[in-house]
Amino acid sequence: MYDKEQARKVHEEKERWEETTVQKALSRFPERYEKFTTISGKPVERLYTPDNVVDLDYFRDLGFPGEFPFTRGPYPTMYRGRLWTMRMFAGFGTAEETNERFKYLLAEGETGLSIAFDLPTLYGYDTDAPEAEGEFGKCGVAVSSLRDMEILLDGIPLDEITTSMTINSPAAVIWAMYIVTAEKRGIPRRVLGGTIQNDILKEYIAQKEYIFPPEPSMRLVVDTIEFAANEMPRWHPISISGYHIREAGSTAVQELAFTLADGFTYVEAALERGLDVDAFAPRLSFFFNVHNDFFEEIAKFRAARRIWARAMRDKYGAKNPRSWTLRFHAQTAGCTLTAQQPENNIVRVAIQALAAVLGGAQSLHTNSMDEALALPSEKAVRIALRTQQIIAHETEVTNTIDPLGGSFYVEALTNRMEEEANEYFRRIESLGGVIPAIEKGFFQQEIADAAFRYQLEVDAKRRIIVGVNEYVEEEPLEIPLLEMDPEGYDRQVRRLQELRRTRDNREVTRTLHEVREAARNGKNLMYPILDAVAAYATLGEIMGILREEFGEWEEPVWF
């Protein structure tokens, strides 16, 4: 991008500057640290100049928005055409309580739904299962059957809004509940838009909400990808997620590399099923964390688009440009929220959200200030949403595309991200691929090492966390926390018991048998699961059959 001769001259001049002007300043005012690093521990130079990006080729490496390799953005007009979707992750207690929260958020101007399920639901247990003790409604909403889903979505225009559901092991069942709810209202499945997270690989790697061993889990994922390709052209059957990898303590480049490696693994699995790459690749979507290191995060998003585009076109032979484009949802980093002086989190979230926007996110969730303490209160979640609205409407950063493109620092970081991710791809390959690497504990160990390194830096005050290891105040907490309906659990269990009594149990038995048959004979599981859900078989019943057929995964323990 830069003239080689000029870059050489800049390099020489930079050396001169370091030896004279900088040295003179350093002798009087030493720098604050001997070495400066990104939050991921990567070295950062004092100054970036054209010689740091001398090999960058504008057409090869950056190009134009909406064109290969999409470094500058997946769409030709980006936020000048349409703002990102403001999608707040929400769910707690009963379906009734969460339905009320959804309506509140929509009234306040959010533009997409995002459903958080409670832990029993995420593990495929009904609310009254013994394994679910104490966990009802704590981390999200409890959905044990189609009945709960109908209540949850009551009054929500499913033909107009898109819905993202954070659900993984039981994704096929929960998705079926959503589809049947819409169809019972006369909305055909082909018009439904939304996303199921359905990314099982990162569960083994980081979030740990797996149920089955990797092989049947991957089969279920490919079943849903195939179903979407055939029946639901507006749905994203998977959201390949780095968010949880980062929250578990990875560095930025680990998040990037492990997520894309997972993505390639899904592509390969779908190709093995015999699907055409351009039939499913345009509906793959991504989900990244947006952490504190502003420029490193922006570089991560830009590198992600470039790596994906190159692999999809050159390695997997996709022809449709939509198969080459990486589109992503971002969420501000929950692990950066502090329980101490929680109002400070508003500022952290605002800066992180700005990085997501400058990195070209398609959809964004902003965390609420109280989330290191509890599920968000209405006021906290409103401020979080307002933060996005302020960025969208007041800062004017949306006026031009990829405004940091061409920054020597951001381009150098973007290049380094891509190189280091490629290095990880080679290591994963040498371990036999993503699933063997999971079985060997490779990712888990890499992440645990990075998390521990970071904690040591915080313990030693090498990294300052305002209000935690510096600027500490002893003050009582002054923000109101969410109170849940204390009767919620009993109401949910009563509803579930009544459902089991009053539904057509013969039909339930018949459809569950079909689920078992498909699990055994390899037919796409989505169809029998849809029938079972429509007969009001519960989540626990359907997942129970699959648990029996597929077995359960236990991970080797490391720390």
């Binding site: 832990l119 929250e247 303590g249 692990c335 313990d459 966390i465 290891n469 720390f559």
Partner: protein, 142 residues
């Protein structure tokens, strides 16, 4: 307990919560500080945790819970530990614990509750103090 052996710590994750970053970081910090650490892995039942505490003959049990299920799980674990005669084990809880629940947990016999942002050095110092360990030496049970 024998006076010559290392202090033994069980780090455990009860319930369905899979967020194991904190548990692993604390386990490793304690190990680096000279403790003998046993980590249970995730999704452990209260029964399995109490049994592991007994079998491993531990001096300290650290429970990590971020899901909000602590008021259902911790009382059960405390009861099971007592039933097994483990009355002297130092029990600590870490995770997302609202202020109002801290006194309730302490009334059950939990000695320390550590929320988000706790430095590992503070947890180590707390254990040493509670077990009357000589801070100059590697931790030995008194």
């Amino acid at each position: 307990m024998a006076s010559s052996r290392k202090v033994r710590v069980l780090v455990a994750k009860p319930g369905l919560d899979g967020h194991d970053r904190g548990a692993k970081v604390v386990a490793r910090a304690l190990r680096d500080a000279g403790f003998e650490v046993i980590y249970t892995g995730i999704r452990q039942t209260p029964e399995a945790i109490a049994e592991a505490a007994l079998q491993e003959d531990v001096d300290v049990v650290g429970l990590s819970i971020l899901s909000g299920a602590h008021m259902a799980l911790v009382p059960k674990i405390m009861r099971l530990l007592k039933e097994k005669g483990l009355n002297d084990v130092l029990v600590l809880v870490g995770g997302i614990i609202p202020d109002e629940d801290v006194p309730k947990l302490k009334a059950l016999g939990v000695k320390g509750v550590f929320g988000p942002g706790t430095l590992t050095t503070d947890i180590i110092a707390f254990i040493r103090r509670e077990l009357n360990l000589d801070t100059e030496e590697a931790p030995k049970a008194a």
